[in-house]
């Protein structure tokens, strides 16, 4: 057990902090639309141009090739500098890119990696289907090989920002006869391909900004060379990136939420006056969240410590389940503290917006119920019940 950083690590921290403080965008990130795309790309470009992009990417692909500790330092400073969360670049940087790095051909690497890192292309995900949510492997979107092309027909749903994306990591069924995990392929899909139709899906926190799209593929044609890994081996390709992001990026969220709790303490004192104390119902919840956010951050450090020693990734479900629930409690308390003003959802304040968004934290990336199954079965060794 050790909290210490080497002199080189501390030096790196100084440099990161200095650069971030000087360069972080001061403008508020738009909640949707092309403005949001431009904002996110510009910020990614800013990082790339200064040599601060791809902290977890190997150097040979233009990344910084940092070890886990340095990544952690980077994200800590990132959060402390209030750097924006560039959600639109997330899939490219953390799923699509890393998958190509791990399993792509030289040609695929050459073509697709740099545009992700340099803030030219936005990637989205095409995994979930209308009838395969928690049960991802039962996906049905078909791809038939026709010469040197795949012909894709079917539908994907819950594609965040699909309407603002250039490329998609797409899972399709190439062998309908095989067992459900076997006949799947992982495909690089260009969002300008004819035969793709998008249906926007708004979310409840900003009903006038499209967040998800549903994708309809009607005999959309993709070159066979866009399959990453082998045809029918897509499940293993998809799983290969699960371990890529080893929890270092989560630290930014923990630090941000810890800041938010501090803001809330201030706001509660402003609002409820000097007589506001820890024994107040809000005070008790704030105190509890101060403790819980400390623990959430420590859990992230633990996740990184485990990753360094290659401990079972199922253990990460413990952190995800806890953090998702705590974040929801933080947002709910923020919403409660503002009292009657929670009935307003102003454009220039995010408290209500993010309260509503927080309902996603126990749904996205595996519902809390699925997380609990994983913990029960893979961490605790309880028998499967299905």
């Amino acid at each position: 057990m050790d909290l210490n950083f080497t002199a080189e690590d501390r030096q790196f921290r100084e440099e990161a902090r200095e650069w971030l403080n000087a360069n972080v965008f001061k403008e508020r990130r738009p909640h949707g639309g092309q403005e949001m795309r431009e904002y996110d790309l510009a910020w990614q470009r800013t990082q790339y141009d200064a040599g601060w992009a791809g902290v977890s990417w190997p150097k040979e692909y233009g990344g910084m090739g940092l070890g886990l500790t340095r990544q952690l330092i980077w994200y800590e400073e990132y959060a402390r500098a209030h750097a924006p969360d560039n959600h639109l670049c997330f899939v490219g940087l953390n799923h699509g890119g890393p998958t190509i790095i791990a399993r792509g051909s030289e040609e695929q690497k050459k073509e697709h990696l740099r545009p992700i890192l340099s803030g030219e292309k936005i990637w989205c995900q095409g995994f979930s289907e209308p009838n395969a949510g928690s049960d991802l492997a039962s996906l049905k979107t078909r791809a038939v090989i026709d010469g040197d092309e795949l012909v894709i027909t079917g539908s994907k749903i819950w594609t965040s920002h699909g309407h603002l994306s250039d490329m998609q990591e797409l899972l399709v069924r190439t062998d309908p006869g095989a067992p459900k995990h076997k006949g799947i392929s992982w495909v690089i899909f260009d969002m300008n391909t004819p035969g793709l139709d998008l249906r926007p899906i708004d979310i409840m926190s900003a009903p006038n900004h499209t967040h998800f799209v549903q994708c309809f593929y009607d005999e959309a044609r993709v070159p066979l060379k866009n399959v990453v890994g082998d045809v029918n081996d897509g499940w293993s390709v998809a799983m290969s990136t699960l371990g890529f992001e080893r929890g270092t990026a989560q630290i930014k969220d923990q630090i941000r939420y810890a800041f938010l709790v501090e803001d809330m303490i201030k706001k509660a004192r402003d609002r409820y006056g000097a007589e506001f104390v820890s024994t107040d119902e809000f005070g008790a919840r704030l105190a509890q969240l101060r403790a819980d956010m400390a623990a959430a951050r420590a859990m992230t450090y633990m996740a990184v410590s485990r990753a360094e020693r290659d401990v079972s990734p199922a253990m990460a479900s413990l952190m995800r389940a806890m953090v998702g629930q705590v974040q929801q409690r933080v947002r709910r308390l923020a919403f409660d503290i503002i009292g009657a003003d929670g009935l307003e959802n102003p454009e220039d304040d995010d408290w209500v917006y993010f309260y509503l968004r927080s309902y996603a934290t126990t749904i996205a990336a595996g519902t809390l119920q699925i997380q609990r199954n994983i913990i029960g079965e893979r961490v605790l060794g309880l028998p499967r019940g299905r």
Binding site: L343, Y359, I363
Partner: protein
């Protein structure tokens, strides 16, 4: 002693249920633009059916039924997410009636006049700061607190400013009540406790919201399949639904009891009205949140109706004073009988 509706009462429930199912399906809220006050087009029909004067004495132009029938009807208003302007109109008619203004009373009972609802912004803005709900086209605005209930002309408010409503289908404004303005009519608590009635009816309305969310979740759990089975067959989902049913049952029983106690003119009327609002708003908020979770990603979209229940549950909770205020209030009452 009987907490269940009589057959006469059940007939009233069936009537309003049929009417709202046809005229105001929750799907109506999906169409942006056709929002909020559009429910006002239902008012004349509801008035004609007698729902606006249900619990007013016949000599005041009402139907002469009791708080129990009114509770049952507001439960249906909540279930169908009818605009909270309904509180302004129906309670407004009561204010007019008990203040002795028969002309205004009859105008309100006819459903032609519109009445918005003012809600204190509390700690946020000082004593003169309000939110106005569904008041942009309203002639009158209901303001109801512990001491009295009153109808103000819209012109009594100043600094009116339209703001984005969290419950986006409702029209929301910030406003201040002008200095030394007088209401058009007012009724003191001693004459008629309209505030207690507002809390009791908000309990009924919130009960309906929670039941709507419960039914939506149960229906989805029966049809949505994962891993080859309806998700409602998994205990993780089944038990969420069971908890929703438990909360709705608690809210239903307390709402019924609160209405009966009010009809009895018991000294515990306010206590049970507040208890009902507390229990019912909790059932509405928690059921709506659970309903999101049961729906997964779909529940998080603006396409599913779930979010309307969630947002409306918060409106119900904060109208006439939020949970923090109701908790303060309930501790002030003596031990109920």
């Amino acid at each position: 002693m009987d907490l269940l509706p009589s057959s006469d009462q059940q007939q009233i429930v069936d009537t309003i249920q049929d009417f709202l199912r046809n005229e105001a399906p929750v799907d109506r809220l999906r169409e942006f633009g056709a929002i909020g006050n559009s429910d006002a087009k239902l008012w004349p029909k509801l008035a004609e059916l007698g729902f606006f004067g249900l619990s007013l004495p016949e000599e005041m132009g009402g139907i002469g039924l009791s708080a129990a029938e009114e509770m049952l009807v507001f439960q249906q208003f909540g279930y169908h997410l009818i605009s909270p302007a309904i509180f302004g109109t129906i309670l407004g008619a009561r204010v007019a009636a008990f203040s002795g203004d028969a002309h205004l009373r009859d105008a309100l009972l006819s459903g032609e006049a519109r009445v918005g609802v003012a809600n204190s912004r509390g700690a946020a803005g000082g004593t003169d700061a309000f939110h106005l709900f569904e008041a942009d086209e309203a002639e009158l605005i209901l303001l109801c607190d512990d001491d009295e209930a009153a109808l103000y002309p819209r012109s009594a408010f100043t600094h009116i400013e339209r703001v984005n409503s969290t419950d986006a289908v409702l029209v929301l404004e910030r406003a201040r009540l002008g200095d030394s303005v007088e209401p058009r009519v007012r009724v003191s608590k001693e004459t008629e406790n309209i505030h207690a009635r507002a809390l009791m009816l908000m309990g009924a309305y919130a009960l309906g919201i929670g039941q709507g969310a419960r039914d939506m979740a149960v229906e989805y759990a029966q049809v949505r399949e994962q891993f080859g089975k309806p998700i409602g067959s998994f205990q993780a989902i089944k038990h969420i639904c069971a908890d929703m049913a438990i909360r709705s049952e608690a809210a239903l029983c307390q709402a019924s009891f609160a209405a009966l106690v009010m009809d009895d003119a018991s000294p515990d009327t306010e206590f049970h009205a507040v208890a009902s609002k507390i229990v019912a708003c909790e059932s509405a908020i928690k059921n709506a949140a659970d309903c999101v979770q049961v729906h997964g990603a779909f529940g998080f979209t603006a396409e599913a109706n779930v979010h309307h229940y969630l947002k409306r549950s918060h409106v119900a909770d904060r109208l006439f004073g939020g949970l923090r205020e109701q908790r303060r209030r309930i501790l002030t009452f003596p031990t109920p009988a």
